[in-house]
């Protein structure tokens, strides 16, 4: 559904170079360079406080950059994190947004209907905004952003606060509604699963700096730095004196003929197995084992396939910003 299935991204619609943004005295974003092309959906990932919302605000023009520059080709629309709606009907809220955007009155009705249909919210059109549930509210919030048809669409955590089922429904509908060959979309997500579902490309923001940029698959196979790897869920690490090997549970399997000896120090039950914490001489890794799973204290043998290797001297550097212009993946 993402990445390789769609035509290559088109022209650059938004570009920022060496962008630095401050809030008060604090530098929230430092030296960020990135570009958004027509047709792509990019996800912006990062832990709390990394500066994602600030970056979006700056790209939208709501915050002035302290350094660097932003180049925009077309209009930028942003849907803020809080889905505040006017106290009117859903339909009125969407047409109101179109009025703000400057769409002539005769066109508003049709555009509003189209956007509500695209996001699967047309059954809500006559409802008053105050009566909507959390998921419905987010749907309408998205509908407004889609209806105005910006050249660049910025979405700030559009799925925040939704429970798992509501979120996955909305994700599905959002994916088809957001895909457009003439628009670039940047979505701030908090959760890796959302990024994987939506995005052709990931931007990872750590501590205000751009730590990684690439397709989800590439970043997972070859994370550029230790910090990025850890953020992407590489929770295990083995140190053999020459290099550091970081692993994800997917890389670790229980195998009586495996090359490594380990002891189970913790076993947490999961729905279909157990998450094991395994101690080795060289470090600690995590694995997910099917039932029946070993118990705490057991000695096991494991096999490790894959993982990310980093020469030891490099690990002192927390991260590095990707080169600009971005290197082609592969």
């Amino acid at each position: 559904m993402t990445g390789a299935d769609h035509p290559a991204p088109g022209r650059v619609l938004l570009r920022c170079e060496h962008l630095t943004v401050r809030r008060g005295k604090r530098e929230v974003i430092a030296d960020v360079s990135a570009e958004l092309r027509a047709g792509e959906i990019v996800a912006l990932l990062g832990p709390n406080g990394a500066g994602k919302s600030t970056l979006l605000d700056a790209l939208a023009g709501a915050l002035a950059p302290a350094e660097g520059r932003i180049e925009r080709h077309g209009r930028v629309g942003i849907a803020l994190q809080s889905p505040d709606l006017a106290r009117r009907t859903v339909f009125a809220n969407v047409t109101l947004a179109l009025a703000w955007w400057g769409v002539p009155r005769p066109e508003r009705t049709e555009r509003a209907r189209e956007a509500l249909r695209a996001i699967g919210a047309d059954h809500l059109a006559r409802r008053r905004a105050a009566t909507l549930s959390g998921g419905e509210r987010r749907r309408v919030h998205l509908a407004r952003a889609i209806a105005v048809r910006p050249d660049v669409l910025l979405l700030d955590e559009p799925f925040a606060g939704l429970d798992a089922e509501v979120r996955s429904n909305l994700l599905e509908d959002a994916l088809s509604a957001l895909r457009s060959s003439t628009r670039a979309t940047l979505v701030v997500v908090h959760d890796r699963a959302e990024a994987w579902a939506l995005a052709d490309r990931l931007l990872i923001l750590l501590d205000g700096r751009l730590a990684a940029s690439g397709s989800p698959r590439d970043l997972l196979e070859r994370p550029p730095t230790v910090a990025v790897a850890r953020f992407l869920g590489f929770d295990g690490s083995l140190d053999d004196g020459h290099e550091l090997l970081l692993t994800r549970p997917a890389h670790v399997a229980l195998d009586p003929a495996g090359a490594f000896e380990a002891r189970v120090t913790r076993a947490s039950p999961l729905e279909d197995g157990a998450r094991l914490e395994l101690e080795l001489d060289q470090g600690r890794v995590y694995a997910v084992a099917p039932l029946p799973a070993p118990r705490t204290g057991d000695a096991v043998r494991i096999r490790i396939d894959g993982g990310a290797r980093f020469p030891l001297r490099e690990t002192s550097a927390q991260f590095e910003t990707p080169t600009y212009p971005p290197a082609t993946p592969g």
Partner: protein, 240 residues
Amino acid sequence: MKLIWDEIQRAVPLILHGNPTLFSVIGFTLQVALVATAAATVIGLPIGLAIGLGRFRGRQVLRVLANVSLAIPPVLVGTFLFVLFSPRAPLGSLHLIYTRRVVFVAQAILALPFVVALTAAAVQGLPPGLLAQARLLGAGRLQVWALALREARIGVMAAVIAALGVSLSEVAAVVILGGNIYDYNQTLASATLYEVNGGYYADAVAIAIVLIALILILMCGLALLQHQGNGIRLRFRSAA
């Protein structure tokens, strides 16, 4: 209790027989209340919106000023205006003291802080994300103000009703500036004062009853407003 009942008994015929002076006082009071509130709204609403929504230097100062002006006793406002409009004073040439016009002016000035401060408060109580979202989707200043006014309409209407209430009830400024002249520029409230000072308790009670009736009508309007506001919430609870 006996005295109260006696006075009420004497007062009701006074009202029912439509004492002409009483009617003219009622008429004048209503005129003043409506005109003063209208003027205060026309002037005060934009100011309140600017304070609530604007992002200019000195906005905080204005907001504090608005709240402080709400606390200034009408007696002081009346004194200050009297000095201002006094024959020998800067605005004395307007010849406003002891006229009917000055009552309108005084009540409008008294009502103004209510409109400004309460509108600003109503608008500031709106979810900040909504107005920010409108701005970011291209809404111009007028569109944002219109949105805020519509969203905060209940609070704004409460501000207007508060202004009306003040115009009806306040005596100090009216008496100081207008002189409380019988059959000329008395409002219901100031006429009550006049009658009590003269010992005509029955007349005073009559006038007070009419005043209470007007205030009650106003309060019903406010209650209806609040119900409208709650009505939406009630529907939410049954829809969820």
